[in-house]
């Protein structure tokens, strides 16, 4: 899993971690495992496919005049963030860290890998059996989808130019440091930092994007006419298609985060599926009771909530725990999504309710259900007699990420708003993003 790094301090999770990371750098160059490499490359492709999946998930939820604009918010992230990651993102997240905050962990990576310099055939210290190139491209896919997740909050009203600038700045200033803290050997890391566990991105990806979405909602304001007018999804089949692609891709997201093929990858893969299945029921049952009908959008959203919540826990818990996590995620996210109407904030496609809340539940429940066998350094959750130690660390890592991402996102957004403006004007909002921003229509009556 991508949390160990320094030789000698890793407590026995797998023979792989123990054996290989203890070897000197020269010896590591010869330790590339073809099976591990194949799995990481396949996983990178799976995670890449999640971003277009997200495009359809979000694209189906908006009104038809904004379908192309919404697809672009995800699809363009593949363009921007890919280039950014090669140039600066990877080195800030996974370069050797500068300074120490907690234990051996620092705040940000140095510039050793700028422009993918020295990212080649030899494994990095963070993934001992795959070429650094494979590790780099795999991590890149996470950096692509994370800012795309925020798109659900600013849907149907952001200027395309403002979107491009925001995504660029946010990945470098907000995402790369948090990825470094948790996975790159920074101060929250599991081995010689704070000791928080995040298997595949409950904090780095989902809480990070989810709280940025909340900041966006506050700065950007409501869509014109919300909530008085009906904001009905224009293509529910797209929503189900998108959720299904996300589910498929998530096997690479979580399974690949073992950074090796084998038992740990299999556990993470299987937990991902089990929790997602449970989360559908966690959402649909209360919905059925409250509104008399189980909805398709509800089943798809519940599944995504389950995928989000199992992400930090995937390699640390047993399958029965995955069922508990999935059920809890479906239920709590269902309740959370309804809060936006009470507070009157227009988180258009429920990024906060699904990704922030789901990510938080997953992080905290990792502190409850983590087993001694699978967690690093012999850490164990509440139900295995580990007390509140790990749970406290999980809460602390969540809190730090939340404050960091919220404050910086507000600052970034205020700055962009001041310089070029974030929102389209009212006339363009009425017209829709497709025509006003891209000069195209998603659907044509006469073909």
């Amino acid at each position: 899993m991508r949390i160990w790094r320094r030789a000698g301090v890793v407590g026995g999770v797998s023979a792989l971690a123990l054996g290989l990371s203890a070897l000197p750098a020269a010896a590591q160059e010869t330790t590339v495992d073809t099976g591990d490499t194949a799995w990481i490359l396949v996983s990178a492709a799976l995670v890449m496919f999640m971003t277009p999946g997200l495009a359809f998930f979000y694209g189906g939820l908006v009104r038809s005049k904004n379908v192309l604009g919404t697809l672009m918010h995800s699809f363009m992230a593949l363009g921007i963030v890919t280039i950014l990651w090669v140039i600066i993102g990877h080195t800030l997240a996974f370069g050797p860290d500068i300074g120490k905050i907690i234990g051996e962990g620092g705040w940000i990576g140095g510039l050793d890998f700028i422009g993918f310099k020295d990212v080649g055939d030899a494994p990095s210290a963070l993934a001992a059996t795959v070429p650094h190139t494979a590790f780099g491209i795999y991590q890149m896919m996470f950096a692509v989808i994370t800012p795309a997740l925020i798109a659900g909050a600013y849907a149907e009203r952001i200027k395309f130019s403002a979107y491009l600038i925001f995504t660029t700045v946010w990945v470098v200033v907000v995402y790369a440091p948090v990825a470094h803290w948790v996975w790159g050997g920074g101060f929250l890391n599991a081995v010689d930092g704070l000791g928080a566990l995040d298997f595949a991105g409950g904090t780095v990806v989902h809480q990070n994007a989810g709280i940025a979405a909340l900041a966006f909602v506050f700065v950007l304001g409501k869509r014109k006419g919300w909530p008085k007018e009906a904001f009905v999804p224009h293509n529910v089949p797209f929503v189900v298609l998108g959720a299904s692609i996300l589910w498929f891709g998530w096997f690479g997201f979580n399974g690949g985060s073992a950074l090796a093929s084998g038992g740990l990858a299999s556990l993470a893969f299987s937990n991902t599926h089990v929790a997602t299945a449970a989360a559908i029921f966690g959402w649909i049952i209360p919905e059925w009771i409250q509104h008399k009908k189980p909805t398709t959008v509800g089943a798809a959203t519940g599944a995504v909530a389950g995928l989000v919540a199992i992400t930090p826990a995937a390699g640390f818990v047993r399958p029965w725990s995955a069922i508990c996590i999935g059920l809890a995620a479906g239920l709590v996210c269902y309740l959370a999504v309804n809060l936006k109407h009470r507070f009157g904030y227009d988180d258009a496609l429920d990024v906060v309710g699904v990704h922030y809340v789901g990510g938080l539940i997953g992080a905290l429940l990792t502190g409850v259900f983590a087993t001694e066998q699978t967690a690093l350094m012999g850490q164990k959750g509440l139900v295995y007699g580990g007390g509140f130690d790990l749970l406290g660390k999980q809460a602390a890592a969540s809190g730090i990420t939340t404050v960091w991402a919220f404050v910086l996102t507000v600052i970034i957004l205020k700055a962009i708003d001041l310089v070029i403006g974030l929102r389209v004007n009212e006339a363009d909002e009425d017209t829709g993003l497709d025509l006003s921003q891209h000069g195209e229509a998603g659907y044509s009556l006469t073909g």
């Binding site: 909530p227 009906a230 904001f231 509104h291 959008v297 999504v337 309804n338």
Partner: protein, 112 residues
């Protein structure tokens, strides 16, 4: 000449078409449409937010007929589109002043 316009339930369209063919009509135009009458609309729920949908899907049929055929056409639609429950739709007849067949330039009854 008359223009017969009917609003019917979408799933009844095939039955109405067959009944009209049997009644002797030569052609018809169909449009998917939305609206409400005494049936009112329905509610839809997306992620817990309930929306009142006032306009329900209907099919609008338009047929140009000679005066002599009007009663048979109206009767055919009435019989074939009826389910007996609310929302079965309406039929109305308006005068058509002039009709031209574009291909040949024929006018009046010849053009129907």
């Amino acid at each position: 000449m008359k223009l017969v316009t009917a609003i019917v339930k979408p799933f009844k369209l095939d039955e109405v078409k067959d009944a009209l063919k049997d009644a002797g009509i030569q052609g018809m135009t169909v449009t998917e449409s939305r609206g409400f009458g005494r049936q009112r609309g329905h509610t839809e729920v997306y992620r817990g937010a309930e929306y009142q949908i006032d306009f329900v899907p209907k099919v609008r049929i338009e047929i140009l007929v000679d005066e002599g055929l009007v009663d048979r056409v109206v009767e055919a639609i009435t019989e074939s589109a009826r389910t007996g429950s609310i929302g079965d739709g309406k039929i109305w007849v308006t005068p058509a002043e002039h009709v031209t067949r574009i291909r040949t330039g024929e006018t009046g009854s010849e053009a129907i």
